[in-house]
């Protein structure tokens, strides 16, 4: 078998933030050890490094998209650029037209219409990508988005592609992806090529509402998914409601995890729950076993 045929990409998502996505993804990463490549695709609020302790071995700059800039000496202050800019990025301050990096979306329309060619487009540095060894010896690809940079979706794609090529090269069985909250471009980007999605939710009205929305996105891509109900004992009625939803949509119910301060305690020590003596350890081990089973059954 070719390596691509045995490689499985597992994405951890939640819709709502703060349901325990990263704690679960990190635990699975520890259990998978060196059989997996880890990809942190929550580039806007990356946290998994706090538990997996990567060494930031290799760093490279990530460029994506462009930024417009005005050569003041060539500018005749005609104002055409500001007229065509739909992003209100060009303003007239002290007799000069200036472009705000924060607002410019790099469309290049201003460059096209400038009669004196005073506007040039530059490559935009949007962040850094790191390739690291984690504390369990696996390879991890992670990133840092520059403050206020655009294109988080493209940075996610860059992280994933890097993780994928490493997994193929090193013949790894799994890629474990920590996704971002929401349903927008970083989430969609993290789903491309995924074999299985682990949804982490909580029994709150918000948790279920957000789960439904993110699941609707996953369904469009026809990716199989399983769900962990975290803090299930916070509201048993809602837990039952979530289970009905899972049954109805044929989402595999992976586990109920109790509302346990042990997660936070472990995090404070820079550990995942599976590195502690908490009884939850066994539960997460079962989840990992079940996810692997699910993927194999499907194949």
């Amino acid at each position: 078998m070719k390596p691509t045929e045995i490689m499985n990409e597992i994405v951890v998502l939640s819709g709502k933030g703060g349901t325990g996505k990263t704690s679960i993804a990190a635990s699975l990463a520890v259990l998978a050890g060196n059989s997996a490549v880890i990809a942190d695709c929550d580039v806007g609020a990356a946290n998994i490094h706090l538990l997996l302790k990567p060494d930031f071995g290799k760093t490279f700059e990530f460029y994506s998209g462009e930024l417009a800039s005005i050569h003041q000496e060539l500018c005749t202050v005609c104002g055409k650029c500001a007229e065509v800019c739909r992003f209100k990025a060009i303003s007239f301050i002290d007799d000069h037209y200036l472009i705000s990096d924060l607002d410019c979306e790099g469309c290049g329309y201003c460059e096209r219409v400038c009669p004196t060619h005073a506007i040039a487009m530059y490559e935009r540095k949007s962040g850094h990508v790191y390739i690291s060894k984690t504390k369990v010896g696996s390879t991890m690809v992670h990133a840092r988005l520059d403050i206020s940079a655009e294109n988080s979706g493209k940075l996610v794609a860059a992280v994933k592609n890097e993780a994928k090529s490493i997994a193929i090269k090193e013949d790894k069985q799994f890629i474990i992806v920590d996704g971002s909250p929401g349903i927008g471009c970083p989430v969609v980007s993290s789903l491309s090529g995924a074999n299985y999605v682990i949804l982490v939710t909580e029994p709150t009205l918000s948790g279920l509402h957000d789960l439904k929305r993110v699941h609707a996105v996953i369904s469009r891509f026809r990716i199989q998914s399983g769900c962990i109900i975290n803090k299930f004992d916070l509201n048993l009625e809602k837990t039952v409601e979530i289970k009905h939803f899972l049954e109805e949509l044929q989402i595999h119910h992976l586990a109920d995890i109790s509302y346990d301060i042990a997660f936070t305690q472990a995090m404070t020590e820079g550990k995942t729950i599976v590195e502690t003596s908490s009884p939850l350890k066994q539960l997460i081990e079962e989840v990992w076993y079940n996810v692997k089973e699910q993927i194999i059954i499907k194949k």
């Binding site: 819709g15 709502k16 933030g17 703060g18 349901t19 990263t22 929550d42 580039v43 806007g44 609020a45 990356a46 946290n47 706090l50 998209g65 462009e66 065509v84 739909r86 992003f87 924060l102 979306e105 790099g106 469309c107 290049g108 329309y109 096209r112 988005l145 403050i147 206020s148 940079a149 655009e150 988080s152 979706g153 971002s180 909250p181 929401g182 349903i183 927008g184 471009c185 969609v188 709150t204 009205l205 918000s206 948790g207 509402h209 957000d210 929305r213 993110v214 609707a216 996105v217 469009r220 803090k231 916070l234 509201n235 809602k238 509302y259 301060i261 936070t264 995090m267 404070t268 820079g270």
Partner: protein, 293 residues
């Protein structure tokens, strides 16, 4: 000065699930007992405020972004459109011009630079804006359509609409998306003050630092609220003290709060210390606003 400008407060966080929605809805409902308040849910990918704010639904309106539509009959296949598009949203495939609407940033370049006017801009639905009222509280929810990827245009439009239609409401709260990328910036840019809600855990601290950097780059004054205070460690407090970031309130870790939240209930009427925290926050905001005027 003819009219007093509204005080716009963004409620944001780096890390998700720290209590933005809890704080936004409780603060808005509590404030509206005594004064006219506007709450805007800008977490367009996963809006949750509506769960806690009841009120009467007054209107729902579709929101659009503009995308080019290929007019085959006028097109001469000159190739300018696909050449100008930096987002690869307009691509020439043989004798066909394909428009990938999810990649389009609505810059209008292809449409306006087309010599044959063969790419007129057309409306494309990206979300819905709904308005609810409850006494002194006006509540606007902005909701992204499933499988629309770009939150930013919808957030911009919502801000514009609020500027146009609700300028008379003096106190305005904007519940922002999590993270530190473009949606948060779009949401916080048009406000006067930013509250960052965090928790005293390593994840909370890491994301708070990122959020502080982002908001500082926008040049906004900011304050922190520490939620679930008592779990984790003291690093968030040390960080705030060291960087002279005001801590507006510390809301203790309390399962009762989580229980109310899970059922979609406002907590301040049920948990006394939450009401105390809300009063502290409002006092601080009133003083800050007074100083800024």
């Amino acid at each position: 000065m003819t009219e007093k400008k509204p005080f716009k407060i963004a409620i944001a966080s780096g890390k998700g699930g720290t209590g933005k929605t809890l704080l936004s809805t409780n603060l808005a409902a509590y404030l509206s007992q005594t004064r006219s308040t506007l709450l805007v849910d800008l977490d367009v990918e996963e809006p949750n405020d509506f769960i806690f704010i009841k009120g009467t639904l007054e209107s729902v309106s579709d929101q659009y972004k503009m995308i080019p539509e290929w007019g085959e009959d006028k097109c001469t296949l000159c190739g300018i459109c696909s050449n100008v598009c930096k987002y690869h949203a307009v691509v020439q495939l043989g004798t066909f011009i394909a428009v990938f609407k999810e990649l389009c940033h609505s810059c209008y370049a292809c449409s306006e630079l087309c010599p044959e006017l063969a790419l007129p801009m057309q409306k494309h639905k990206i979300g819905e804006l709904s308005k609810r009222s409850d006494g002194h509280l006006t509540f606007i929810e902005s909701r992204l359509e499933i499988c629309e990827e770009q939150a930013v245009p919808l957030i911009h439009q919502t801000h514009n609409l609020v500027d146009e239609d609700y300028n008379k409401i003096p106190f305005q709260l904007f519940d922002c998306p999590p993270g530190t990328s473009c949606p948060v910036i779009a949401a916080a840019k048009n406000t006067d003050y930013v509250i960052l809600v965090t928790e005293s855990t390593p994840f909370g601290l890491n994301d708070l630092k990122l959020a502080v950097e982002t908001i500082s780059k926008l040049g906004k004054p900011l304050g922190v609220i520490i939620n679930r205070h008592g779990i984790g460690n003291n690093d968030v407090e040390s960080y705030c003290a060291h960087n002279q970031i005001p801590v507006l309130a510390k809301i203790p870790f309390d399962r009762q709060i989580a229980k109310c939240y899970s059922k979609g209930e406002l907590v301040y009427a049920k948990v006394e210390h939450v009401e105390t925290s809300l009063r502290q926050i409002i006092k601080y905001l009133d003083e800050t606003h007074g100083n800024h005027e």
